[in-house]
């Protein structure tokens, strides 16, 4: 569906369904240099099982007009405006990586708008190495290669995709390559600069689920420990063998964890 947020065009995937006021809503928020399609299987499932789905393309990503937003706090405010535009009063927020930080911040700043919160591959804080930031700042392709390499577990770099015929790391790289120049640097800078994660977590009162990848090199499970402690009501699920790209690596496990929670 097409939305307009703060005067700019925004795309949200709904599973080809019209939102119904009588159904609960699940809003999905992707990570750096990604778009709504990283949630393809999970979002489509919810859209066809009694939920409204709003899988957002963040500004400057996918089909949404830019520019990309430069801070986690700004993305958090934008998420709430996007829910306004979609006429969604309250939703379960599901975020991955940068999207997880933004959903955490959105829940802290607008608690009445969030019924439940699911954070996939979160790290609080989420520092980014200078070398990666420098490569992203230069729009050097090596930045995508670094992220792609770190985002997939060693086993999945050789394939074995659950989706027949798809080469996982190739598809992930190609998606990032579509990102307009400068956007990855903006995204990574937002992750690197966000210092409000623990305070935000401490203020969250809704039920929270953290889905962690045992082999996640981008956001190792231990980097979510303090956040989980600060959250009042947090259940952590660690996916054995999964890397940061857990929605692609273990789509069923991610879906099952979300189903049990939502």
């Amino acid at each position: 569906m097409q939305l307009h947020v703060e005067g700019r065009a925004v795309y949200a995937y709904t599973g080809a369904r019209t939102l119904s006021p009588s159904q609960p809503t699940v809003a999905f928020v992707h990570g750096a240099a990604n778009d709504h399609s990283v949630w393809a299987l999970q979002s489509r499932y919810f859209a066809h099982h009694g939920f409204n789905v709003v899988a957002l393309d963040l500004p400057g990503h996918g089909r949404s007009e830019g520019p990309a937003l430069s801070s986690v706090e700004a993305i958090a405010q934008w998420i709430v405006r996007a829910l306004d535009a979609a006429e969604v009063a309250s939703a379960t927020l599901v975020g991955h990586s940068l999207g997880a930080l933004a959903c955490l911040a959105a829940t802290a700043s607008a608690p009445a708008r969030v019924g439940k919160l699911a954070l996939l591959g979160p790290a609080v804080p989420m520092p980014v190495s200078d070398a990666l930031l420098d490569a992203a700042k230069a729009d050097d392709h090596v930045a995508y290669e670094l992220i792609n390499g770190w985002s997939h577990s060693a086993a999945r770099k050789l394939g074995g995709n659950r989706v027949p015929g798809m080469w996982m790391t190739g598809a992930a790289l190609r998606l990032m390559e579509r990102t307009p120049p400068g956007v990855l640097y903006t995204d990574l800078s937002a992750c690197n600069a966000y210092a409000g994660g623990l305070a935000a977590a401490a203020s969250v009162r809704c039920p929270t689920l953290a889905i962690l990848g045992q082999r996640d090199l981008m956001a190792p499970p231990k980097s979510a420990s303090a956040m989980c402690e600060a959250l009042g009501d947090c259940r952590a699920v660690t996916l054995a063998g999964a890397g940061h790209a857990m929605m692609a690596e273990q789509p069923d496990a991610v879906l099952d964890a979300l189903r049990a929670f939502v």
């Binding site: 399609s37 299987l41 489509r44 770099k157 080469w167």
Partner: protein, 434 residues
């Protein structure tokens, strides 16, 4: 900074797409010889059908053994995914019917495999899809042939049978300027010699029967998507409704919204393979996988042998010409050096200084070379295109394809090259005496 580990071509040839079988620990990819797959429960079944969960339902749509081959070829080509088909012809058909319908138009190189030429020139017009054939080397001709209803540009990395080298970067740029994708038949080169996506191609297909297999015991094809073409942006906007508009045949799915990078493959599998049904059998996929495991080793030897044989023929007194881009005498030699630095494959043609009858005598005098209609076997092969693969083409059309009635095509295998030279020497001697 140390870059994360990524695997190289030879490693991917052996491993990509395959994991030890979780059920048995089998190291080799098992042959999942089953038509269908048991659903754990009704909800899971519905989710599989509706693309909410990943997995296999019915082997016409997907199969675990076939999926390993698809992933492996996608990895080797640098694409996002692939679909294995019943033959290379089925792969070409699948690419076309996924994008085009009645009223649409293709611009294709004139230098095509005879089977592809048949499909485009004789069969598809019956379904309302027409093709304009152009000289693959003539950039202006490619541009001039594009019409408002054109939806695809198509050529072979090494044209059949004249071995003209497709200038993929240039033709891709022409295609993209017009909002069109470039489809490339990469059968003769395989990803070991050339990866067309790195030069701008959008879709690649192979007759996997040939070098990918190497053993000549199966028929199969593979269609690969680079995932780079933007089906609903710029000059392409509105041209590809099969990917950008709701599809009644799958719950109004808009494939380009469902998958940003793999819309083409989604439609091809969810419609083309589902409805036309030209799928690959699991045993076929298994056999092709055995070939792909040794692809780098075999292609290196194929190219080395082909160079040796081409050099021998180019200096033989009874040989008029040798058409092999690896030779400086070939008009595309410089382009070939740029696009395929590892070599120009192992298929090439030569013409003798003799009559058509002498050509037949030569072929019949060969012992090691097998006279048959195939290429890319581990064994050396020979054929006379004018009387076999291109028999429907007139003499003028043959000339436009870069060959004559006396052209002989060789596919150089993995034998000792000295044995091949001895076989050719003797046959040339016999033919010259006719």
């Amino acid at each position: 900074m140390t870059k994360p580990k990524t695997h190289r071509f030879d490693t991917l040839s052996l491993h990509a797409g395959a994991v030890p079988d979780p059920a048995t620990g089998a190291r080799a990819t098992p042959i999942y010889q089953t038509a269908s797959f048991v659903f754990p429960d009704s909800d899971h079944a519905a989710a599989l059908f509706n693309m909410e969960r990943a997995g296999h339902v019915y082997s016409r749509i997907s199969n675990p053994t076939v999926a390993v081959l698809e992933e492996r070829i996608a990895a080797l080509e640098g694409g996002v995914g692939a679909i294995a088909t019943a033959s290379g012809q089925a792969a070409l058909h699948l690419a076309i019917v996924t994008l085009l319908g009645a009223g649409a138009h293709i611009v294709a190189s004139r230098s095509l495999y005879g089977g592809s030429h048949n499909l485009l020139d004789y069969t598809l017009p019956r379904f309302g899809i027409r093709t304009t054939f152009v000289d693959a080397r003539d950039a202006d001709a490619w541009r001039a042939a594009i019409r408002p209803e054109t939806r695809l540009l198509f050529g072979e990395t090494l044209g059949n049978p004249g071995l003209d080298v497709l200038d993929v970067p240039r033709v891709a740029a022409i295609a993209h300027d017009h909002g069109l994708p470039l489809l490339v038949d990469s059968t003769f080169t395989t990803p070991y010699l050339m990866r067309p996506f790195e030069h701008g191609a959008d879709l690649v297909f192979h007759s996997a029967t040939k070098f990918l297999s190497g053993h000549g015991v199966v028929i199969g094809g593979v269609l690969v998507d680079a995932g780079t073409f933007r089906w609903d942006e710029g000059a392409a906007k509105g041209k590809f409704p099969t990917l950008t508009e709701p599809y009644k045949g799958f719950h109004d799915m808009v494939f380009s919204e469902e998958s940003t990078t793999a819309a083409f493959l989604l439609r091809a599998r969810r419609e083309g393979i589902r409805d036309f049904g030209a799928c690959m059998a699991p045993f076929t996929a298994f056999q092709i996988l055995q070939g792909v495991e040794t692809l780098p080793l075999r292609m290196e030897r194929h190219v080395a042998n082909a160079r040796t044989i081409a050099r021998f023929l180019s200096t033989h007194a009874f040989v008029e010409s040798v058409g092999y881009p690896d030779l400086p005498s070939h008009p595309d030699h410089a382009l070939a050096q740029r696009l395929m630095p590892r070599g120009c494959g192992a298929v090439f043609s030569f013409s003798i200084k003799g009559t058509r009858a002498q050509g037949r005598k030569l072929i019949e005098s060969l012992d090691l070379f097998s006279h048959l209609a195939n290429v890319g076997d581990a064994k050396s092969l020979v054929i006379h295109p004018a009387s076999t693969t291109h028999f429907r083409m007139s003499a003028d059309d043959l000339l436009r394809s870069g060959i004559t009635e006396g052209t002989i095509r060789l596919s150089i295998g993995l034998e000792d090259p000295e044995d091949l030279i001895e076989d050719l020497s003797r046959a040339l001697y016999v033919a010259a005496k006719v």
